[in-house]
Amino acid sequence: MEKFETFTGIAAPMPLVNIDTDMIIPKVFLKTIKRSGLGVHAFDEMRYDRDGNEIPDFVLNQPAYRKAQILIAGDNFGCGSSREHAPWALADFGIKVVVSTSFADIFFNNCFKNGMLPIVLPQEQVDILMKDAERGENARMTVDLEAQEITTSEGEVIKFEVDAFKKHCLLNGLDDIGLTLEKAAAIDSFEAKARAERPWV
């Protein structure tokens, strides 16, 4: 996994509540065998009409937001299926950070596993960021994970919370598997003991 470094990027406003994983990536795109390449289908049904033409009103189709790296979203972002295609699609599009008042549990965890940072903030602060994001291309925000701060285009600093372990993993680009393999000795000895106690398994 790539290390999560401080960056300054464009934030897109998506105030809709309950954006579910089917909206992020519709079921028809679950048939891929790769993690990459889903970015063009992110938000497919909101982004394109049935003939595949872009819907100009959709925020990520607007010139100012085509290169957005941050989403400022409505409540309960990412509800629905456990399939990881939703975070893959967002990551492939180029999204690094999603801010909302709340996230669905599985989606929230899946973000970290894919190098993305979901940030939970109280409504008033999401409102501030939403307003800033609505100002378009000039609204470049800076996300500093080390300091746990988002800085708006006007220099206002908003602090956020993040699980210490997850932060450590993101900052150092550590994936879960690598971390678990560091505990290989514990797994080996558990396996030996289990084989003796329950040899039929």
């Binding site: 079921k27 679950l30 065998i33 456990s82 399939r83 598997i177 678990t180 797994i187 039929w200 398994v201």
Partner: protein, 467 residues
């Protein structure tokens, strides 16, 4: 003396390979089941990192979600992307040396039916699969959860899962079921009572006389839908019914190992006085044959009821019910038995086992269907073979059902078996979400016997009138 433990506590404790200070555990996984939809990226990840499958002998793969279920399927899969997924699984199974049941194998079927059938699922195990209905295996007293693709890769590489312990919840069904009421009605009634978030953060143990009385097939149906109740997993303590089912299966222990296994399995029950964080009790006598009327599995009513009105609900549910009734094309006050059905689907990991087919055939015997389309998709090639041997296949065909090959089929409509816009289906599967069985398709979840009854009358029907 140690504190009394629940069944979940006991299985959990027997599988913790490492515990960090904050309570995060590495849970050792005894069986990893794999299918074609959620695994390609996991194998791709292993390959990219130069990693191997740690315990290929504990890893079992079978294609099910995408496979065609029509009789001509050996000619191959038309949809290119579906074909690529199945071919990727063929290749990955071979490359990484895991157990595999290809489409051409008579043992192929829905992963949650194949595992128990082949004796891969045993009491006291930890079982995972990249699929939410892994809960099914809990019927054996195995701790079984669904996982995402990153976790599939994690289990492949390390044979462990990073987990925090869930809470304990008890669902007790006291007394005896009335005639015509089945395991499916129990599990739907429980979700109706607790809601789809009722089990969130918990592992449910189902117990009580009505659960004890169920066959293994029925217990699998109950645990299968623990996930629709929001739970992480469902469990039923193993007993003689379980041991009887497991004995002699291809991968079940034999001889002295069987005796040793049995001795441990008999310790797998909740101790007297163990603590549950949440308890729900239903009386079996109060459960009627049920159907779903809406687009969430919690939208459940007895078949004798009428379509509710949004005003019967409060909070956010009012709007959700309005939307659901609109989607389903129903009017408040309409009798459920007046709802006309176009299609009947019998199958899925909820109700695709031999007992389910027997129950439906019992109702259909010597009669003809009135719906446009009806199909039976056995849960595995072996279920199909057994049904043919018992003459059940013939009953279905004589009644006008299509007799299909094994797979997930119309349960999630990733293969060509789909509802068309506005088409209404009585289905024995587990999800009635918008679009689940096809774009704008309408689903009513029912038991196999109720599905058969609907097929005969062309409308939702109380199966008890036909018994």
């Amino acid at each position: 003396m140690t504190a009394p433990k629940t069944l979940y506590d006991k299985i959990w404790d027997a599988h913790v390979a490492h515990e960090a200070e904050d309570g995060t555990c590495l849970l050792y996984i005894d069986r990893h089941l794999v299918h074609e939809v959620t695994s390609p990226q996991a194998f791709e990840g292993l390959r990219m990192a130069g990693r191997k499958v740690r315990a290929p002998e504990k890893t079992i793969a079978v294609p099910d979600h995408n496979v065609p279920t029509t009789l001509d399927r050996e000619k191959g899969i038309d949809n290119e992307e579906s074909r690529i997924q199945v071919e990727a699984l063929d290749r990955n199974a071979k490359e990484f040396g895991i157990h595999y049941y290809p489409v051409s194998d008579v043992r192929q079927g829905i992963v949650h039916i194949v595992g128990p059938e082949q004796g891969w699922t045993l009491p006291g195990m930890t079982v995972v699969c990249g699929d939410s209905h892994t809960a099914t295996h809990g019927a054996f007293g195995a701790l079984a959860h669904g996982i995402g693709t990153s976790e599939v890769e994690h289990v492949l590489a390390t044979q462990t899962l990073i987990q925090k312990k869930s809470k304990n919840m008890k669902v007790e069904i006291t007394g005896k079921l009335k005639p015509g009421v089945t395991a499916k009605d129990i599990t739907l009634a429980v979700i109706g009572a607790t809601g789809t978030a009722g089990g969130t953060g918990h592992v449910i143990e189902y117990c009580g006389e009505a659960i004890r009385d169920l066959s293994m097939e029925g217990r699998m149906t109950v645990c299968n839908m623990a996930i629709e109740g929001g739970a992480r997993a469902g469990l039923i303590a193993p007993d003689e019914t379980t041991f009887e089912y497991v004995k002699g299966r291809p991968h079940a222990p034999k001889g002295a190992q069987w005796e040793a296994a049995l001795a441990w399995w008999k310790t797998l029950y909740t101790d007297e006085g163990a603590h549950f964080d949440k308890v729900v009790t239903l009386r079996a006598e109060d459960i009627e044959p049920v159907v779903t009327w809406g687009t969430s599995p919690e939208d459940v009513l007895p078949i004798t009821g009428v379509v509710p009105s949004p005003e019967d609900f409060t909070g956010g549910k009012v709007e959700a019910v309005r939307r659901a009734l609109d989607y389903m094309g129903l009017t408040p006050g309409q009798k459920l038995t007046d709802i006309e059905i176009d299609t009947v689907f019998i199958g899925s990991c909820t109700n695709g086992r031999i007992e389910d087919l027997r129950a439906a055939a019992e109702i259909l015997k010597g009669k003809k269907i009135k719906v446009k389309r009806a199909m039976v998709v056995p849960g595995s090639g072996l279920v199909r073979a057994q049904a043919e041997e018992e003459g059940i296949a013939q009953i279905f065909q004589d009644a006008g059902f299509e007799w299909r090959l094994a797979g997930c089929s119309m349960c999630l409509a990733m293969n060509p078996d789909q509802l068309s816009e506005g088409e209404r289906c009585a289905a024995t599967s587990n999800r009635n979400f918008e679009g689940r069985q096809g774009y704008k398709g309408r689903t009513h979840l029912v038991s196999p016997a109720m599905a058969a009854a609907a097929a005969l009358t062309g409308r939702l029907t109380d199966v008890r009138e036909m018994m």
